[in-house]
Every structure is written in C-alpha cells, then in structure tokens.
C-alpha cells in the first residue's frame, strides 16, 4: 500500500487524533504527577499559541496582546475565586477578555503593521500598571490569593479548553470566514471591495481569540494560588505564543500546536539540564529556526514530504 497516501488520508488522521485524545484523557489515572503538571503547562501554551494564530495567522496583524487577555482571565479568577464555582469563573474570565478585545479591536484594528504591534503591547503595560495602581491605592493590596482546585482538575479543564480552541480554529479556517480572513491578510483593500466586512470580521475574530486566552488565564490562576499584577500580566506571555507559532509554522493548524509542544518541552529540558546557559541555547535555536525555517517545522516537513510524494499543486 502507498504509505504517503495512507498517512495523509482523513481516516488515518481522525483515528490518530482519537487515540491521542483517549491517551490524554486517561493519563491522570496512571501517569506521574510531574508529567500532569508539565502537560498542563504545555496545554496552556498550545491554547495561547493556537488562539493567537486564529487571528494573527491569516490576517498578518501581529498582536502582542496575549498577556493582556490572559491576565484579564487571571484576575477574573482572583476576584471571583471565593464567590462563584470555577466553571462560572472561567466563562466570566473568557468573556471579559473577549469584551476587552472587542473594545481594543474597535479602536486599533485600523492600525496596520508596526503601529498595531506597538499598541497591543502597550495594552499589556497599560493594564499591568493600571491594576497595580488600583490595588495599591484603592484596595491597599498588591497580591491576591486564588483558591486551588487540584492538579487533575486543572489538567482536565485545560485539556477541555485546548480541544475547544483547536476545534474552533479548525472550523473558522475551513469556513467562508477563514477564506475572508486570508483575503484580509493578503490584500485588505481588495477584500473590502469583494464584499467582505473587514472591520467586523477582524474585531470578531480578535475577540474569539481573546476568549480562549482569558479562559486559559482563569484556569491557570488556580494553580498559582497567589497572583499579583506582574504575574498576571507577564509580558513574556505575549512573546512566547508568537515565537512558538513561528517555530511550528503557521501554514497548517497543527503547526502552532507542534511548535508550542516542542518549544515548551525544550524549555523545560534546558532549564533542568543547563540552568545557567538555557537562555543562551534557547536564543540560538530561535535564531536558527527563524533564519532557516521560514515556514517553521511543519513547513520543513511538508517540503520534504512533497519531495517524497512528488506532489505540487495537489487538490486540498
């Protein structure tokens, strides 16, 4: 049997995903606690990276706001942690992130290129300092305690959000809106003249991507037990999703997933093995990836794949 054909067949992919999902759901029954905690972190990064790609991948609007949307979710958990049950808090966190994105999107999605990048990053700093000021001068605290719920619960919640964000991104990508988002990225003016309501579509997708980031923040806060504005709005959470998406490749949906998984595992491995040099090694790997893998790991694999199977303009 033709092996390349078999591996790219729909049935094979679905079967593989199903087995993967079964393994991941049953994992807490027999795996070590450390791997559950590590996997939760990996899931968090996958959620952030995939939801970042949902909007920024096709449109080319590079958003550095993930930390802001994530932080909004974290604060929802911190403020309502002792008031509401966790599922409600997650929904509230996700919705407040989405509302923030609607507002910010309406204001800034006219900006293109570097202006948009700078504004979204400014938003992270703005929220960080605003909440810092608020906590110090109004409520008189700097940090807040978040009720914990146990590693396994956090794991399952994060896995649920992960499945939802991947499903949503897949559905958008393969719908008329996915096509429209691509057209916005390639030539926004022409997209508008072809009947695409570019402003509304950009804002709605931006909000959808923020929704999942907020949900991830709300869940993650329960694992940290203590949070303050600098933990909630950590700027590194704005950069990592972008790097992971580039590392994995944005052409395919599984690119950002693979990027986030390998990136996080690599980081964990380097921190434990080379605590003093890990940032240096990490930096070198990133530079090499950007220079030599313009389409990421997935792009490289695909290039090799096409050489093996000899396809160029294959029907999708």
């Amino acid at each position: 049997m033709d092996i390349p054909k078999l591996i790219s067949s729909k049935r094979f992919v679905l079967g593989f995903l199903f087995i993967l999902l079964v393994v991941l759901t049953t994992l807490p029954l027999y795996a070590a606690r450390y791997s559950i905690v590590l996997l939760t972190t990996i899931f968090m990064y996958v959620v952030l990276t995939v939801s970042w790609t949902m909007f920024s991948g096709p449109t080319g609007y590079v958003s550095l706001a993930p930390a802001a949307f994530f932080g909004a979710g974290v604060y929802a958990s911190a403020l309502l942690g002792f008031v509401f049950p966790l599922p409600v808090i997650i929904v509230v966190g996700a919705l407040s992130s989405a509302c923030l994105a609607l507002l910010v999107g309406a204001l800034t999605l006219r900006l293109r290129g570097i202006y948009f990048v700078m504004f979204t990053f400014g938003l992270v700093e703005l929220l960080l300092h605003f909440i810092l000021w608020w906590e110090v001068t109004i409520t008189g605290t700097t940090g807040r305690v978040v009720p914990t719920v146990g590693n396994t619960t956090v794991y399952y919640l994060m896995l649920t959000i992960l499945v939802m964000v991947i499903l949503t991104t897949y559905l958008i990508k393969h719908s008329r809106f996915g096509l429209a988002l691509q057209s916005i990225g390639e030539c926004e003016e022409a997209a508008a003249h072809t009947g695409v309501n570019v402003t509304a579509l950009k804002i709605m997708t931006f909000a959808a991507s923020a929704f999942f980031m907020g949900a991830a923040g709300a869940v993650m806060a329960t694992r940290w037990t203590y949070i303050d504005p600098r933990i909630a709005f950590n700027p590194i959470l704005s950069f990592l999703p972008v790097l992971m998406a580039i590392f994995g490749g944005m052409g395919q949906l599984f690119g950002p997933v693979i990027g986030a998984v390998i990136f996080t595992t690599l980081e964990e491995f380097l921190i434990t093995r080379f605590p003093y040099y890990y940032m240096l090694i990490f930096g070198i790997i990133m530079v090499v990836a950007i220079l030599y893998l313009p389409d990421g790991l997935v792009g490289l694999t695909q290039k090799l794949w096409n050489r093996i199977s000899g396809a160029k303009y294959a029907d999708p």
């Binding site: 691509q182 390639e186 003016e189 022409a190 003249h193 072809t194 009947g195």
Partner: protein
C-alpha cells in the same frame, strides 16, 4: 433613471483638486469609457464611486442611494464591483478560492458551499480561467492576473462593473481577448465603466466616452464625437500653434 449618477463631485488632496465639480450619469446596460491623460483624476473617480474615498462635495448616487454613507463592502453587496489599476490579487490564494470568496460575500450572501463552488466555477469558465483554477494567483501571467481581477469582481454578481485599465501591459493578442471578454460581460446585461488608454478598445467598445483633464470633465459624447473633438485633440497632442513653433 440612471443606475449611477455623479453630481458636482469634487475631491481634493491637500490643495490639489483631483476632481472638481464633475457631473455625469450611466444608464443601465451602457458601456461608458473614461479617458484622459495621466493624473486627470480617473482612478480617483473610481475610488469615489466604489466608496473607497468620500467626496468633499457633491453626491454620487448608486441605484438612488447616496454612496457617501456606504463602505466598500456594502456597495459591493449592493451590486457595484471593481478591478484595480495595479493588480491587487490575493497572491497565495488559489484562483478558485478568489471566485469562491466573491460568491460568498458578493451580492447574494448566504450561499451554501456547493452553491458557491458552482457559481465560482461558472465565473472562472466565463472568463477562461478554468484550466488554472488550482494555482496560487501569484504564479499566473500578468494577463491572467488581470483576468482574475475581473473574475473576482464578476463573481460578486454585480449590476455595474468598474474596469480600471484591464488592458494595460498586455500584448495585442491578449488585448483582443480582453476586448472580447468585455463584450461578453456587456451581453450579460452588466453596465460597464472602463478606464483605458488602449484607444482601439475604447473606441470600439464604448457607447459613450467622458474625457477628464486636470480633474475636470472637458468632453462627453459618442466615440465618433470624441475622436473629432478639437478640445480633446488639444489635450492629448497640444496646440497647433505650439506644434508648429520652435
């Protein structure tokens, strides 16, 4: 009643009047030519009609609605589509997906995906791009890229089509094909306004021609009238006196 009407339309860029007090109208089913030297304001007029720009004074009415209050996507959904002077295709999108996008978001939104696919295939068949439908737009020849611009505009099922120099940069054989395409579009009952520097095309395709010069309409008439108008000849070739003197 005219399908599109411009009244006293003016547009300035800084202190420069790109268009000043331009009046004209287009009737249903007509092919209207728009000519004039470079910088005369032809493309600005297209941008105003397709709601990409707003006029500072005057009104443009499309099917009796003031264009000023619509965005480009709205006017497209109302049935006005355009092409661009410098090709603005989606480079990494396949030819077929250009047409599918147009069917999804054009004048009849809410198509199911088989309907959109069928409508897109018909459009590509009509303009003659069926054989290259699986290719990303950036890999097409210039002539085919211009054809794709027309396909994307036609795919939205417009009532009026604005064609901005679709023949510029094409060789004689390609120009002949493009002219034949314009005739077939007109035969579908679609109103056409075209900007073109290829005089052979303008003269043989248009029912009526408008000449712009320094943002003003200096002449209007049938191709015959325009070809013999002294004012137009003066604009294009200069004064007889100048031509003779040193």
């Amino acid at each position: 009643m005219p399908i599109l009407e411009c009244k006293e339309v003016s547009r300035y860029f800084g202190g420069l009047a790109a268009l000043s007090r331009v009046n004209f109208h287009v009737e249903q089913g007509e092919v209207l030519g728009l000519i004039g030297p470079n910088g005369a304001g032809k493309t600005t007029l297209f941008n105003l009609m397709s709601a990409a720009l707003k006029p500072q004074s005057g009104t443009i009415r499309f099917k009796d609605t003031d264009v000023k209050r619509l965005g480009p996507y709205k006017i497209c959904r109302m049935g006005l589509a355009r092409t661009f002077q410098t090709v603005r295709i989606f480079p990494n999108m396949t030819v077929l997906n250009h047409a599918i996008l147009a069917s999804y978001f054009g004048r009849s939104p809410g198509m199911s995906s088989p309907e959109a696919l069928r409508s897109a295939s018909e459009t590509l068949e009509f303009v003659g791009l069926s054989t290259v439908k699986a290719i990303p737009a950036k890999d097409l020849t210039l002539a085919n890229q211009k054809r794709l611009e027309v396909a994307r505009a036609l795919g939205t099922h417009p009532e009026i089509l604005l064609l901005d120099e679709i023949m510029a940069g094409l060789n004689p054989a390609e120009v002949a094909q493009a002219m034949e395409l314009v005739i077939r579009i007109r035969n579908k009952g679609i109103t056409i306004i075209m900007i073109e520097h290829v005089m052979k095309a303008i003269m043989s395709l248009c029912d009526r021609i408008i000449v712009l010069h320094h943002g003003q309409k200096i002449a209007e008439g049938t191709p015959q009238e325009i070809a013999t108008s002294e004012k137009v000849i003066k604009v294009y070739l200069g004064d007889k006196a100048h031509a003779g003197s040193k």
